[in-house]
Amino acid sequence: MGGVTELQAMFEDMVTARYYEERLQEEYLEGKQPAFDISAGPIPGELHLAAGQEAAAAGVCRHLRDDDTVTAPHRPHHVAIAKGVDLKRMTAEIFGRETGLCGGKGGHMHLFDPDAGFACSGIIAEGCPPAVGAGLAASKRNEDSVAVAFLGEGAISQGGFLESLNLAAVRELPVVFVIEDNDWAISMPKERVSDVADGSRRAEGFDMPGTRVDSDDAIAVSDAAKEAIGRARDRNGPSLLEVQVHRRMGHFMGDPQTYRPEADQEAAADRDSIERLAAELRRRGVEDETLESIREDAHERVDEAIEWAKDQPEPSPEDAYEDVFANPPSGVTDEEPAYDLGTDARAGAESGGDD
């Protein structure tokens, strides 16, 4: 368990993420009045918020450096914030602006911040193999950076995740897989779709250490993550960590959640990891004012980011044609080499094609 300063840093990440998403939600719902229309308003498309899951991101990312790589799934903001993604440019991206992280091409499910070592994507478990690849690169280059792939508990039955466990294990790569178990995969409760209640058990079949943190406790997450990440950094191979979190909202904005028992929603609301960490901080002698000022600073940064983002220009329609490739379509050259191969060769009249 870290010292008070570290806990405060986690607290800061968590309240930043929570407030950030409250603000996004407001903005998102804004243009969608009176009837909810997904394509209307300043933030169109799907929006997956992570309120209630902040402990997982803060506890894990605490132990990461800029040169470590994180891949996150469709519910990425809390992880991005904890990993140190540029808040303004992320926000501009979510608002689809030209100065967004991806120039408005990615949107909230496809945020790329290579400086912060962060990427996310929208297909279940899709970030796992690239995280293994980042681990592979570190191992090949003899660097001590690590890679962390986040996924939901609904993703633990997807081939891309399971294959990644094996590849990371057999090559002993510095990778940590983090399952955020929020009990739900959209409308599907986990017992309906998974044979194990404890997702970290998946590790067993791959001879990999697996641990589950059973409460929304940022400190416990941090402790478990410290061990797993430390193991990876020390070249002792990959591990799997599952963290119980709670989904305080619908799967995406606009989700009616009619499938969800009220008791479950209430329980999620009650289990607030932020309040829990605040209580612990108070217990350790941190003043209410300190916590309050952390909150206020966070809110200020968030408000600033959102204001900034909304001021940014929209991309022009023609920008859509850029960035399919990084190099010209022709590659590193556009000139034919000049050789004389003889006529026959190019006319295919040579005989014998085999070794």
Partner: protein
């Protein structure tokens, strides 16, 4: 004229930029040797290049795509991987985004279905989705094609499937010379390149190649640009557009047709993305007749694209079009049926004759 200079270690840019006579190349290589030579060269030059795939190390690649590389580079850089294409091709994406330059092999293109998400939703899209804040400098090599009775799950080319989805450059060499120059460009390119080599052209001992793919190959490195079709045979009467194995079948057909006084131009596309429509259009402007020959399925693929790209810009030039391709059936196993569906030399010749004799739409 200078002999071809064996300087594989250094990198003299080979193009004679001035008006000097082009260098005469006399060393013949099989397509697989040429491809491997390019890979080896790039691996020597750049520590970040590595190769991964199934049976690429000790076996040397089922289709000789890595023959001999293990000996020089060892298991760390010529990596056998678990049979989990999603994991290792996705890992190549991840390593590429970290700045390495992986080459990942999908043993047969027919297996794409187990790993297409990493290929097309990550490898091909991450540059775009990130607004080019990341790039994915990797090569995906894969063996394509039929003609040896390996049936529906091991005989396809799927050229159209890959070419249809944006974000990947798609390369299909037909000769050793092209294979090497295109591979150099593929590895050096910062973009994902799908490099589809036809098994029948590689010059594998147990799968005799036709005449043609074994060509003179310069010893030094050289790059062939993508999007530059190669006129493998000039002709006045009909334009035959094709790629891969069928370049050689088309050339054979052209030789036959020449006996009958029909002068066919044979264009080897060499890459599908980018597509050199200009060379095709110019040729059709000259010949007026277009035959497209493809070893992929007929519908919604290469043949349709080539014809449409001429029709939309040069409709007036077109006097007749025909396509020759696999007739929208899976590849059957047995010899009479496989021979029936994979375009033969005779099919190409017949299409050329037909396109010349009847104006399309004249029925």
């Amino acid at each position: 004229m200078a002999e071809s200079e064996p300087e594989p270690e250094q990198e003299p840019e080979p193009e004679t930029e001035d008006d000097a006579e082009p260098q005469v190349v006399e060393r013949d290589l099989t397509m697989s040797r040429a491809m491997v030579e390019a890979i080896a060269h790039e691996m020597r030059e750049d520590e970040e290049v590595f190769y991964m795939g199934e049976d690429v190390a000790d076996y040397g690649g089922i289709f000789d795509s890595t023959e001999g590389l293990l000996e020089e580079f060892g298991h760390d850089r010529i990596m056998d991987v678990p049979i989990s294409e999603t994991a290792y091709i996705g890992a190549a994406v991840g390593a590429a985004q970290e700045g390495m330059r992986p080459i990942a092999e999908l043993m047969f293109v027919d297996f794409f279905g187990v790993c297409m998400d990493q290929i097309y939703n990550q490898m091909a899209k991450n540059t775009y989705m990130s607004g080019a804040s990341v790039s994915v400098p990797m090569v995906l090599t894969t063996a394509v094609g039929g003609t040896y009775n390996d049936a529906a799950q091991h005989s396809q080319t799927l050229y159209g499937t890959f070419a249809h989805l944006p974000g990947m450059k798609v390369v299909v060499p037909s000769t050793a010379y092209d294979a090497k120059g295109l591979m150099h460009n593929a590895i050096r390119d910062d973009d994902p390149v799908v490099y589809m080599f036809h098994k029948r052209l590689m010059g594998i001992g147990w799968m005799p190649a036709p005449d043609g793919p074994k060509t003179p190959v310069p010893e030094e490195a050289y790059t062939i640009p993508f999007g530059s079709a190669d006129v493998k045979r000039e002709g006045e009467d009909v334009t035959v557009v094709t790629l891969g194995l069928h370049v050689h079948r088309a050339l054979e057909a052209a030789a036959e047709l020449a006996d009958d006084g029909i002068d066919a131009e044979v264009i080897d596309l060499r890459t599908l993305v980018p597509l050199d429509t200009e060379t095709v259009r110019e040729s059709v402007a000259k010949t007026g007749h277009l035959v497209v020959v493809d070893e992929d399925y007929r519908s919604y693929g290469v043949t349709g694209e080539i014809i449409a790209s001429v029709a939309e810009d040069r409709l007036a030039d077109l006097e007749g079009v025909e396509r020759v391709a696999v007739p929208d059936v899976p590849l059957p196993y047995s010899r009479p049926m496989e021979n029936e569906v994979i375009p033969s030399v005779e099919d190409v010749a017949a299409a050329v004759r037909s396109v010349r004799s009847t104006e399309s739409g004249a029925e």
